[in-house]
């Protein structure tokens, strides 16, 4: 009884109560420090982070040289922060706080409306674009008998402008591509902006969590390209199949925002066309241009063609005598299946990884058509077209 009285008396003085509260608070802070420390140091170490798609740092071992040059200390810090107690939850919490405070981007990814995450559009660099255009022109000139086509796909920030964060700096990609096209000669320039813009309200043309376009957008683009290339579409139908509904792509990884999930559809021709894809660099052949094993990994978009490779040669059962050279980035990967009924062979080249001689390849393969298929951001910012193909 008397004890209670004393406590009661103690709380009567506000100064005293304040002091007591502060002491309790400091004990709580100390407890948090000790508990977090114990949980981090004695918790089980993880080897791989799904969210970050990388191996996490493991316990470093000290040696006289690694201590002397500070490597051991750096590695220890990396190890502790990689294996920090509930690291993933903390990253999630941080993005939530940022969004709550009105931040509209995370690690260079725009946080748009309705869960759309956007890659920032590339700026137009006159020098770079002129160089790229110069190389495309020179390849056309060297092979005047081959029909050349170029199709630049708009990025999501262009077609879904209405979903960008308010005032977010963006680019007019339609103008950028018009400027680039005006530098090209001897090549058929295909406009993909109009067909996508016309359908943007009816269909989901882009992923929410990835920077690629969907198979639906790719089909619209394919129809336009087929028109320009005068492909006979009358004997083929197309079928769209969902292959996964748990896709969290590059934009989710970059931003650390894993709130939404996307569905990947693939669009395939009917009747089915058999394909054999050979990967000369890997010295591998596969009986399909899809790699369904990728659907179990983090990089699910690689279900198309198995990912990006410097060169893929696809032989088809199509009754055709045309050979297509497709010079492309990853936007083209989901278009390739739709092209298979019209070419006996498709040579797919990704200049970013390519080390061969493009003109030799064109002669060797008896190419009849060349298609350049890129998304606008890569076309404007990538240097490999003039670095590798010139």
């Amino acid at each position: 009884m008397s004890k209670i009285k004393i406590i009661f008396q103690k709380t009567k003085s506000p100064r005293r109560e304040e002091r007591r509260n502060l002491v309790i608070s400091s004990l709580a802070v100390t407890a948090v420090i000790l508990i977090i420390s114990l949980l981090t140091l004695f918790g089980a170490d993880r080897e791989f982070s799904e969210n970050e798609n990388r191996y996490l740092a493991q316990k470093p071992s000290a040696s006289p040289s690694s201590v002397a040059d500070g490597r051991f200390m750096e590695d220890s810090e990396k190890y502790l922060s990689d294996q920090f107690f509930s690291r993933d939850i903390m990253v999630q919490a941080r993005t939530s706080i940022d969004i709550f405070l009105g931040k509209k981007e995370e690690n260079g990814v725009y946080i748009g409306k309705e869960g759309f995450l956007f890659e920032k559009p590339s700026a137009y660099d006159e020098e770079r674009v002129s160089k790229t255009a110069g190389v495309i022109n020179s390849i056309c000139e060297k092979h005047p008998k081959i029909k050349s086509y170029i199709a630049a796909a708009p990025n999501s920030s262009e077609i879904l402008k209405a979903f960008l964060p308010l005032n977010a700096p963006d680019e007019n990609q339609s103008e950028q591509i018009k400027k680039l096209y005006s530098k090209l000669r001897g090549i058929t320039k295909i406009d993909l902006f109009s067909p996508l813009n016309a359908q943007k309200e009816k269909e989901e043309l882009y992923y929410r969590t990835d920077h690629h376009w969907t198979a639906k957008a790719a089909k619209l683009a394919f129809d336009t390209i087929a028109g320009s290339m005068k492909l006979d579409l009358s004997k083929t139908k197309y079928r769209t199949i969902a292959v996964t509904n748990s896709f969290q792509g590059t934009m989710a990884s970059s931003s650390g925002l894993f709130s939404a999930k996307d569905t990947i559809f693939i669009t395939v021709p009917e009747p089915e066309i058999k394909c054999v894809a050979s990967y000369p660099d890997e010295k591998k052949k596969r009986p399909s241009i899809f790699d369904s094993s990728k659907l179990k990994t983090n990089s699910k978009y690689e279900v198309f063609l198995g990912g990006n490779f410097s060169e893929i040669i696809i032989d088809t059962t199509a009754k055709s005598d045309r050979t297509l050279l497709l010079i492309k980035d990853s936007y083209a990967n989901c278009v390739v299946p739709m092209l298979t009924p019209y070419f006996k062979r498709i040579a797919v080249i990704d200049p970013r990884y390519y080390v061969g001689n493009i003109n030799e390849t064109i002669s060797k393969e008896n190419v009849t058509d060349i298609l350049w298929l890129y998304n606008t951001n890569t076309l404007l910012s990538d240097t490999s077209i003039f670095d590798k193909l010139a």
């Binding site: 608070s25 802070v29 201590v67 990253v91 650390g256």
Partner: protein, 472 residues
């Protein structure tokens, strides 16, 4: 090691706290044991970041300890001349070490340019904290020679004074005379521990929650070409930097003062809401107080201070501010930044003093803050021409006054800037006085652990590093 790292928070701090309080305070209750624990912790703390330069610090400690004792002996024996020679030796040694590691590259480069020659200097990284601990050592040596303090006979206490980890690498600069007694006699109490710990959490929050996030806004602005930068963006950028540097630096001081207090030390305050200063003179009474008071005690007053004739006082002031600028780094923009303040302070002292008194207080504050922000442009720019270019953009010589980018930058960071402004001014303290009947101590008590958890979240999320195999 820095305080805002996993290594410090997860390993170093818990072990040091446990060792100090369990072994030092609870088991042995012995000041020598306590000091030994702190010294060991401090040396590990320093060696963790500077495994090589710790040798330099140890040499410096040994040298100054011995020469300090020698000076004291000479003075006692009446060897005044000898004491003077030793004193000059010590000053030269300490300044030479600082000069060699901090300024030799800069001097060689500029001397080379002047003479049209190329001097090859080894490209040495700057030893962390050398500017701070050299000034601490100097305060000991100078005060000892002038008879203001007694010699420190214990090498343990002396080494602890120089290397004490809370203020070792980023201040505040603790003068020996202020801490002399605490080295051998200090008291740890639950109350001091509580005040210290909450102060540490406040400092950590300033650094991780505010300084780092504000800093990333300024980095984006700084990375934009001047031609594409509107005045609005430039102002948002420099406002963020102004807040960042305050929270960064004062946050570090808070952590140092807090940690010190937990172990029973009392360091003087280093910042007193500098951005509400009503004049530039006032600003420097509130900003990095331990540095300006060091220069006042050990440079300005020995030069004669303001008891000389006006031209000499102006000369003294310019010397002090030139050195202040130079202390912040070996680069022309720091020198210009120091001179900028020297000129402003002289103008205030001799020309504007009477006129300023007639200007309304609020306006004086705004003008002072703008002058300080222009100073930060000089301070933060990589080169002089960058600084001038940036100031040009601030006054519309970039991509106009407003643009969408500026609006985006402002709207997406407005909440952060407002929170920063709220914390940089004593609004909370005033508010607390006004609503005195309501006791906020429980809210505050609950806030500290929560702030700490937020700090962990911000610290860890900064290391988020996704691997994107797919090139776009």
């Amino acid at each position: 090691m820095v305080f805002s790292s996993s290594t410090f928070l997860v390993v170093f701090l818990p072990i040091t706290l446990l060792a100090y309080f369990l072994v030092g305070c609870f088991l042995t209750k012995n000041i020598t044991v306590k000091n030994l624990i702190l010294l060991a912790a401090s040396l590990i703390f320093y060696a963790w970041g500077e495994p090589v330069y710790i040798v330099l610090m140890l040499i410096s400690i040994m040298f100054n300890y011995i020469i300090g004792r020698d000076i004291a002996l000479s003075k006692k024996d009446g060897g005044k001349k000898r004491a003077k020679v030793l004193f000059i030796c010590a000053v030269v040694f300490n300044l030479a070490a600082l000069g060699f590691f901090k300024y030799s590259g800069f001097v060689a480069e500029n001397l080379g340019n002047l003479l049209g020659l190329q001097f090859k200097m080894p490209d040495l990284p700057l030893p962390v904290g050398i500017s701070f601990y050299t000034f601490q050592i100097m305060s000991y040596i100078i005060d000892l020679y002038n008879g203001k303090i007694k010699v420190q006979k214990s090498i343990l206490s002396f080494a602890l004074y120089i290397s004490l980890f809370p203020q070792l690498i980023a201040g505040p600069i603790v003068k020996y005379k202020d801490i002399e007694r605490q080295l051998s006699r200090r008291k740890e109490t639950p109350q001091k521990y509580a005040e210290g710990m909450s102060r540490f959490v406040v400092g950590l929050s300033k650094k991780l929650l505010l300084a780092n996030t504000l800093g990333s806004v300024y980095s984006t602005v700084q990375a934009t070409e001047f031609g594409k930068l509107s005045a609005l963006s430039a102002w948002v950028g420099i406002v963020c930097y102004t807040l960042q540097i305050y929270f960064d630096f004062s946050g570090y001081s808070d952590m140092a003062i807090g940690l010190g207090k937990m172990f029973g030390f009392e360091f003087s305050e280093n910042f007193r809401y500098p951005y509400i200063a009503s004049s530039v003179t006032d600003f420097w009474r509130r900003w990095h107080i331990s540095l300006s008071s060091w220069f006042r005690d050990y440079v300005y007053i020995p030069l004669g201070g303001n008891r000389r004739k006006t031209p000499r006082v102006i000369f003294n002031l310019m010397i002090v501010w030139l050195l202040t600028g130079l202390w912040h780094g070996a680069a022309w923009n720091f020198i210009l930044w120091g001179v900028y303040y020297g000129v402003l302070l002289i103008l205030e002292k001799y020309v504007l003093k009477s006129k300023l008194e007639r200007v309304p207080a609020m306006l004086r504050r705004v003008i002072t803050l703008i002058l300080v922000m222009l100073g930060w442009v000089l301070f933060s720019a990589p080169t002089l021409s960058d600084a001038l270019g940036y100031i040009g953009v601030m006054f519309g010589f970039g991509a106009g006054l407003f643009d969408a980018n500026g609006a985006y930058l402002l709207t997406s960071n407005l909440a952060l800037i407002l929170i920063g402004a709220f914390c940089a001014a004593p609004i909370y303290k005033k508010l607390q006085k006004k609503i005195k009947p309501v006791n906020l101590s429980r809210v505050k008590a609950a806030a500290y652990p929560l702030l700490l958890i937020l700090c962990y979240i911000f610290m860890i999320s900064e290391t988020y590093n996704p691997f994107l195999y797919f090139r776009f």
